[in-house]
Symmetry: D2
Subunit: 429 residues, 4 copies
């Protein structure tokens, strides 16, 4: 029975079941074989994602707070702890694809047991502190929904047959409009505030809200397109060291980059689009559409493109301030679509802010002034990754609802390409 | 209709169906997840084995000889060609575990189509030359049956839960006898003949039959046991460089070898056996039984053990001549058991010749005098591997019937440990 | 004869000869063998440094501007270009230690030829633009003087005999004072300006001068000492993942870090100092002195130490503003001493600002707002390294005069330890 | 004073001084920089060779047998022990090029001290057992004379300027004769004897003398020429996997082999020789001369060439028996020339047996029947390398006198190319 300190949160139960069911829906088209493969060290198998997000609720909510709950399987702690050093030893990340057991079916059974326990536990009412952990767990699971899609795209791309994850919801047709011209949106800058204001859910790394001085700047009103990227390539973009950061040029040499990830020359009917390049997507291979935003480029490539274009990448403060000042920020309904779309005409100062691709910024991922990680294992969520990563802002076509607020700080190493990452240009005024 | 040149070989159809069905039976206990994993570069996924042996019949029999047969899927040629350079490009070996499609179900369908075509084709009668290719294909599939078991053992050992492949056919009990004493069997040597005499099936590398001069020698009448291996370990076997070949000592340092592969300290009820070590087997983890033959040691370890024991490894000519001279050679019924057994008492000069473990010899794998590989792609079967490998003789508990003849030359790199490889000692007289 | 556009800069000739002669003096104690070795990819051989700084004058001053000057040796362009992609192909960095020719003697001859040509060229008067290149070349050579010392320290440390580079100028005695207590110096922050103001020489990356908002903060008045580092070690500093950035913890595991670079347990007479640790220095091995500043720690270690101490690292803006506000900044006479000294008593708000060790900041090395690299090959000097590096401020005991101004931005990857890098703590107020 | 057990061996003193002085003469053209560089892990610096062979006398003769002799420097044991595990820990092989001290001068002083002690010691008379160790030490030093030349050739080839080690003794002119035709020398084989007969010095691995059965065979009367190798290349030799061993083909892909080591396309005046290829030699770069024997090919290349030529490599028994039966074996005067020469006309059954290049055989390097390594550290000399290496027979233009007897077994891994290794063909009759 709820005590004075606890509260029955029926909304939390509903949200719990809603988020959990989306994960299952995402896994639906995937066979046991698809769900087992780890195609590179950064990728996790689908079945691992499904188990890991479940373990998060078990380890941080059920085991410490639910009376009488016993861990489902001692091995699961070892297998499905991602990186919480404080929790104990764990299975090496790069070997997740070697683990054939538990099977997909066994993981579904595990999810069911934890779901039943969670619903019963939440139905009995929980303290605010526990509700906050559940809420964190749901946001965590949503992040893994996006990772699951990024990862399975990479896995399926390794099949010589390049099979589709899912057919497109609507017939795949070339965009009916050419890319609309890019315009600059101007901002005065000055002493502005950015970061989480404490209203609504946010990760610890989004705060504290703080002041930043910005010189006058401008942001491109839309994303860089594939057509523009093809121009960059034609102009020797991948062969001219003067355009690149030193580490970026080394990556070009080492990996033989000549185009965005998942692009391949030829081998496709063109479907009416004038492109000798195809790109692999969650709905299968398609000709590169010049009007669509470019996606799956690294920070190094984004930076080189901006240099080539006579522009630069925005800082994360410029991005956030510009978006908020333009009234286009905050949360937007997500799409769970499978590929970014060309920009339509709009009166808005900034287009394609969220829902298409994450946008690389010029900002390394570091702590905001006054940042303090949470205590305990949960404190490992964000802070310890503040090294050798770059911030991305916005949100992609596969990003779940609630993860596209203006203060959200996504981050990846500058050489990563398997996130849905693209480019918005910026410039000094 | 059979022509003068062809012959209906009903025995060949029967043998075809028999061998093919054993492969299916071996895969039966394995889920789609188990069949997809590649746990190291040397290992192939179960589903790959099932498809590859099928592709062998398709590529070398059906496509060239069966009128009207069209390759089932153009991608399969790329995916399931193991190493036949002459056939065309192929999928990199180390990436077999990245391929989630075709699924296990799709591979079963492929097997069915090829089986139907093969039976129809064989029923119509085939020329001797084609029958020989089918026979080769069946022996090839049997080799992959053994590889499948070696590989899945490694895959399952990577699961922290160390699950069994199959329960033992008979209850797992400690051996009822201690290891019987080892005796030497003496041989005079002289100018002897070894190699395939052309009667019955043999691989090209087993011939030509040829003369070899042997000095007088002796062979141990049984295999080296786990108990003897534990003595070697207790006596600092893995810490004394003077016992090791230079490359072997480097491997000890690099891989941290301290015991045979699949051995682990502790963590098991002892089941009445006095051993602090457990070993993983196809029927799950079990205490190390001192009376059982040691298995899963590299050539380097076998050689170091022999040096420690004041003996040496036999040459392959010594092994073959000794076995034949003792009247214990030739083929023996296979066991498809899952682990080698302790030696029983016997009047035979040599015990445990086949059916327990492959026995490392002191002979590098090179061509016999006068050896000529077959013409065409089939010629790549054996000859091109005659470099940096050592010959093993005998046959293991998982080796199929027909693969344990006295002239059979198995081979692995000297550092390999995942084959069912053990040790029989030899000495000069 | 000088034209209206040119000017005889006798001061420039003097400065040229002064800087060049210091390089020679630094190489003096080193045999040809010492000058040839490259002990890791980051290190360059002494003779390479001596040739490369010479090539800089040849390639950027003499060849383009000195009438009739012909490049001394076509191979030298290939061998001694460090990283200027715009200039042409170059010898791989990691293979500098494979090049035995040109010999040390041949490089001395090359230096002489270039010096003669430079003096004659400067004596004839040069345009401002060329004088600026010469000035840049001298600052460049001074940076390599520091690199030469960092590098030769690493080279000599690889000799099992741990030979000294040079005897200390004054007898090596333990510090006569214990480390004085650390005090906090408080700063109000607010909207401050940092960066090069255009007066006097500065590298392009030090500007433009710009505004930054700082929250109130404090800086430690002295550097972290070896004694404090020993406490960190005793308290499990290198074994507690919760203190470390994720990449830092991975580095600890990978490299087996247990103490600063060049520290070794035992093997020394203690010389009156109570320490079981010795450290290698340019004057040879010595007991670790608890009062001395710690040096040769990576950014990861600095960050973990700060977390352990309940503090943090300063941002580069905090460091620069605090130093200038305290009146201790600007240039100070250099020492070309061989090891940092313990802090003496002082009335100054901040002690040990320059002349002991470079101080890691919390700031990734990125462009200041409005930064534009110089045109041409010279533009590769700084900008292209703005990725995966952290800023260090201050200046070390081996840093040449003129390289310790308050705006100077040194930078290294967060895992680098062979620079003379140490720690000054900061905190929020 | 000599006792009954000892004998003054003035011949031994003379031989000692003669061999030692040749080493010094070989190092003469090399500066301290040249003598310090290690250009790959297999290569040792010249100064290391000079010290290591000296240490051998110190460790195995002076320290155990010379009354009152004390080791010159405790560090030298650690630095200059090559691979004798029984002697104690040693410096990692791949880091020999990091050690700048002791300098070349210091090593010369070390040599002098040891030479003085050795001469005094030998002058006093030594027991047979000690004389045998001295003799072994001299043969050991001679082996290192050849290694020194192989190694410095590789070092100098890494200089972009490709400097000569020494000018040729006689002016470099193209061979005045085209390659004479290759003829087959036929041998009946049968039960033959090979191996050391105990008369004169031999390494332990050359015995025991033993019987081998040989089928009838033939040997090419001369070596494979560069002209023949160019035909192999023109015929796609490096692009046709069917010619190669599996490991060999992998090496071709991995290393990008397209010609023998030290060959380079173009960039030379042709000097009257019709070749677009140059090759680097100890006397500097020269056009490839079609009449000269090919040198610096791996076993893999030798084997592929033989396959292409419709022949094979000889076994070591065939080589030794053929050479002895032809009366061309035994020792021949060495040349210490710097490159192999074209075959002249001759009535001999076999030409170019020794003095040009080592000849790869088809025989892996394993123990002869009855082989026992010597006791103690000296026993590590040969036996422990009997794994993953192939035997070469003959002797090269840089091989010292006394190292070209018919029973001599040289050995290198099948992928090694920096030895002076070439090809003599064989075939079945």
């Amino acid at each position: 029975m709820p005590t004075a300190d606890t509260r029955v949160r029926t909304d939390l139960v509903d949200e719990y079941l809603r988020v959990r069911s989306i994960t299952e829906w995402l896994a639906e088209p995937l066979g046991a074989e698809d769900q087992t493969v780890q195609s590179m060290a950064d990728v996790s198998p689908t079945k691992w994602h499904r188990a890991h997000v479940t373990w998060f609720f078990e380890a941080f909510v059920l085991v410490p707070y639910a009376p009488g709950y016993r861990a489902y399987d001692a091995d699961f702690e070892y297998l499905f702890n991602s990186y919480y050093e404080a929790v104990g030893p764990r299975h090496p990340r790069a070997e997740r694809g070697l683990v054939s057991r538990p099977s997909v079916g066994e993981i579904m059974a595990y999810r069911q047991v934890v779901d039943d326990a969670m619903v019963a536990f939440l139905d009995a009412g929980v303290a605010e502190e526990v509700a906050a952990l559940v809420e964190l767990g749901l946001h965590h699971e949503q992040q893994h929904q996006e990772l699951l899609l990024m990862d399975i795209k990479h896995v399926l791309s390794c099949n010589p047959t390049r099979v589709a994850y899912r057919p497109p919801a609507i017939p795949a047709a070339p965009s009916t409009f050419a890319a609309t011209p890019m315009r600059w949106a101007d901002f005065d800058g000055g002493l502005v505030e950015i970061g989480d204001d404490g209203v609504g859910f946010a990760y610890d790394n989004e705060g504290p809200r703080h002041r930043v001085w910005l010189e006058p700047y401008r942001l491109a009103d839309r994303l860089v397109t594939c057509g523009e990227w093809l121009e960059f390539m034609s102009d020797g973009g991948y062969e001219r060291p003067e355009l690149w950061l030193s580490d970026g040029w080394a990556a070009v040499q080492q990996h033989g980059w000549r185009a965005p990830l998942y692009w391949r020359r030829g081998d496709l009917d063109r479907g009416g689009i004038d492109s000798p390049w195809s790109r692999f997507g969650l709905t299968g291979p398609r000709p590169v559409d010049p009007a669509e935003p470019v996606v799956h480029v690294s920070h190094y490539e984004a930076d080189a493109f901006a240099t080539w274009a006579g522009a630069r990448l925005p800082t994360e403060a410029e991005w956030e301030h510009g978006v908020v000042a333009s009234g286009v920020g905050g949360d937007v309904s997500h799409r769970l679509a499978w590929h970014p779309r060309a920009a339509g005409a709009s009166d808005s100062a900034l287009r394609q802010v969220v829902g298409e691709v994450w946008q690389w910024t010029a900002s390394p991922y570091v702590a905001y002034p006054g940042f303090r990680p949470a205590a305990g294992a949960i404190g490992e969520y964000n802070g310890k990754f503040m090294s050798n990563q770059m911030v991305l802002r916005g949100g992609a076509c596969i990003t779940p609802e609630g993860h596209t607020r203006a203060t959200y700080r996504n981050f990846f190493p500058p050489g990563a390409r398997w996130a849905f990452s693209g480019v918005r240009l910026a410039a000094d005024r």
